[in-house]
């Protein structure tokens, strides 16, 4: 049995092209040492992971699974401007922070962890990728405790950030850092499990048998709309956890972390999949 023993949910819509919300004071309270040489993506990762682990002593081999669609986009922009526009050698701090593993390094350092530490991306579905990876490791017993999160950063100006992601110019953008602390074993906290189905009908049958009044269904943003509508008609249920209508590349993480961090009754099911690759059903227990 895999349990969600803690969750944290940071979602901040960004309306202002002048500046992003400063995270410094929040980090001062959450981090055990003041970190230098970190970029905004690392700050967001530290903020979410430290909130999720707050007040707990984690096992030194607790794994870290960080997902992101865009990664440290702000730092990557600065580095590319130095290199191409200014024709300068990138500054070492900037260059090192272009690597996906840097954020996980600081999260591990802040929480005193020495276990597995992965950065995994799948555009529009990074949470599903990291959740699949962590579930595999926990089911096989390689990991008994893990912090799994998705982090998305906004790089100003907003118009350019939308353009870069091929998004409509009227969409509301958000930054997010959403984390779950998972643990193998029993307990009265919410459970998490993953079912995989080759056939859509098998998924429907399973959902039909597991479904209870008041449960919630989320269809992944990357899913085919018609298939998602079919499911939504079959399992009309409570509203989705609210992301304030704002968008980032790992919205599923916002839904799951908001639900897991809250105390509302019922189950939450997240469906993702495709006719060719099969279907995944992530189930957060009541």
């Amino acid at each position: 049995m895999i349990k969600i023993v803690s969750a944290s949910h940071y979602l901040q819509p960004v309306n202002d092209d002048a500046a992003l919300t400063s995270l410094e004071s929040a980090l001062k309270d959450l981090c055990r040492e003041p970190f230098r040489r970190i970029d905004r993506f690392i700050q967001l990762a530290l903020l979410g992971s430290a909130s999720c682990a707050a007040g707990r002593k984690l096992r030194p081999n607790c794994g870290i699974y960080l997902g992101s669609g865009l990664g440290p986009i702000g730092n990557n922009i600065v580095t590319q401007e130095q290199l191409i526009r200014d024709a300068e050698i990138p500054k070492p701090f900037n260059f090192i922070n272009t690597l996906g593993s840097s954020a996980g390094f600081y999260v591990a350092r802040n929480l005193g962890l020495q276990g597995q530490n992965f950065f995994i991306s799948r555009r529009g579905a990074s949470l599903q990728a990291v959740l699949s990876a962590v579930m595999a490791d926990m089911l096989l017993g390689f990991v008994t405790q893990a912090l799994v999160g998705a982090v998305e950063e906004v790089a100003l100006p907003l118009g350019t950030h939308r353009l870069r992601q091929h998004l409509p110019q009227d969409i509301l953008l958000a930054e997010g850092s959403h984390w779950l602390l998972l643990q193998s074993g029993a307990g009265d906290s919410r459970s998490l499990d993953l079912q995989r189905f080759a056939e859509f009908t098998a998924l429907e049958d399973f959902l039909g048998s597991a479904w209870q009044a008041g449960d919630r269904l989320c269809c992944a943003t990357s899913m085919d709309n018609r298939v998602a509508d079919t499911l939504r008609q079959g399992f009309a249920a409570g509203a989705l956890p609210d992301a304030d209508g704002a968008f980032h590349d790992s919205l599923e993480a916002a839904w799951l972390a908001a639900f897991a961090a809250g105390s509302e009754p019922g189950n939450l099911f997240l469906v993702d999949g495709h006719r060719q690759r099969g279907w995944s059903l992530f189930h957060l227990g009541a």
Binding site: R36, E88, I89, K91, P92, I96
Partner: protein
């Protein structure tokens, strides 16, 4: 000719900015050891690279792995000497 005192102040400001240290320039003595655990600034080899690149970009002087140039990073004094020296950049 660059004014040595002015240069040392600039170098301190540069070190603080590049290494994101929460310090004021007057808190860095001219002879304080910059890099390594025995130094009061707690800077490491990665900071050294960051400073070396900034020195190259601002003053055109290369600090690389060779012993003579690496010694330039000992203190603000030695860094100023190095920049003011006639050695080819």
């Amino acid at each position: 000719m660059m004014d040595r005192e002015q240069l040392k102040l600039e170098l301190k400001q540069m070190i603080i900015k590049e290494c994101e240290k929460d310090l004021r320039p007057e808190q860095i003595p001219d002879d304080a050891i910059l890099i390594g655990s025995q130094g009061s600034l707690a800077l490491d080899s990665l900071d050294a690279l960051q400073i070396a690149l900034a020195v190259k970009q601002h003053y055109g002087k290369r600090i690389d792995g060779s012993n003579q140039t690496r010694a330039a990073l000992t203190s603000v004094n030695s860094l100023a000497d190095f920049i003011l020296s006639d050695a080819a950049p």
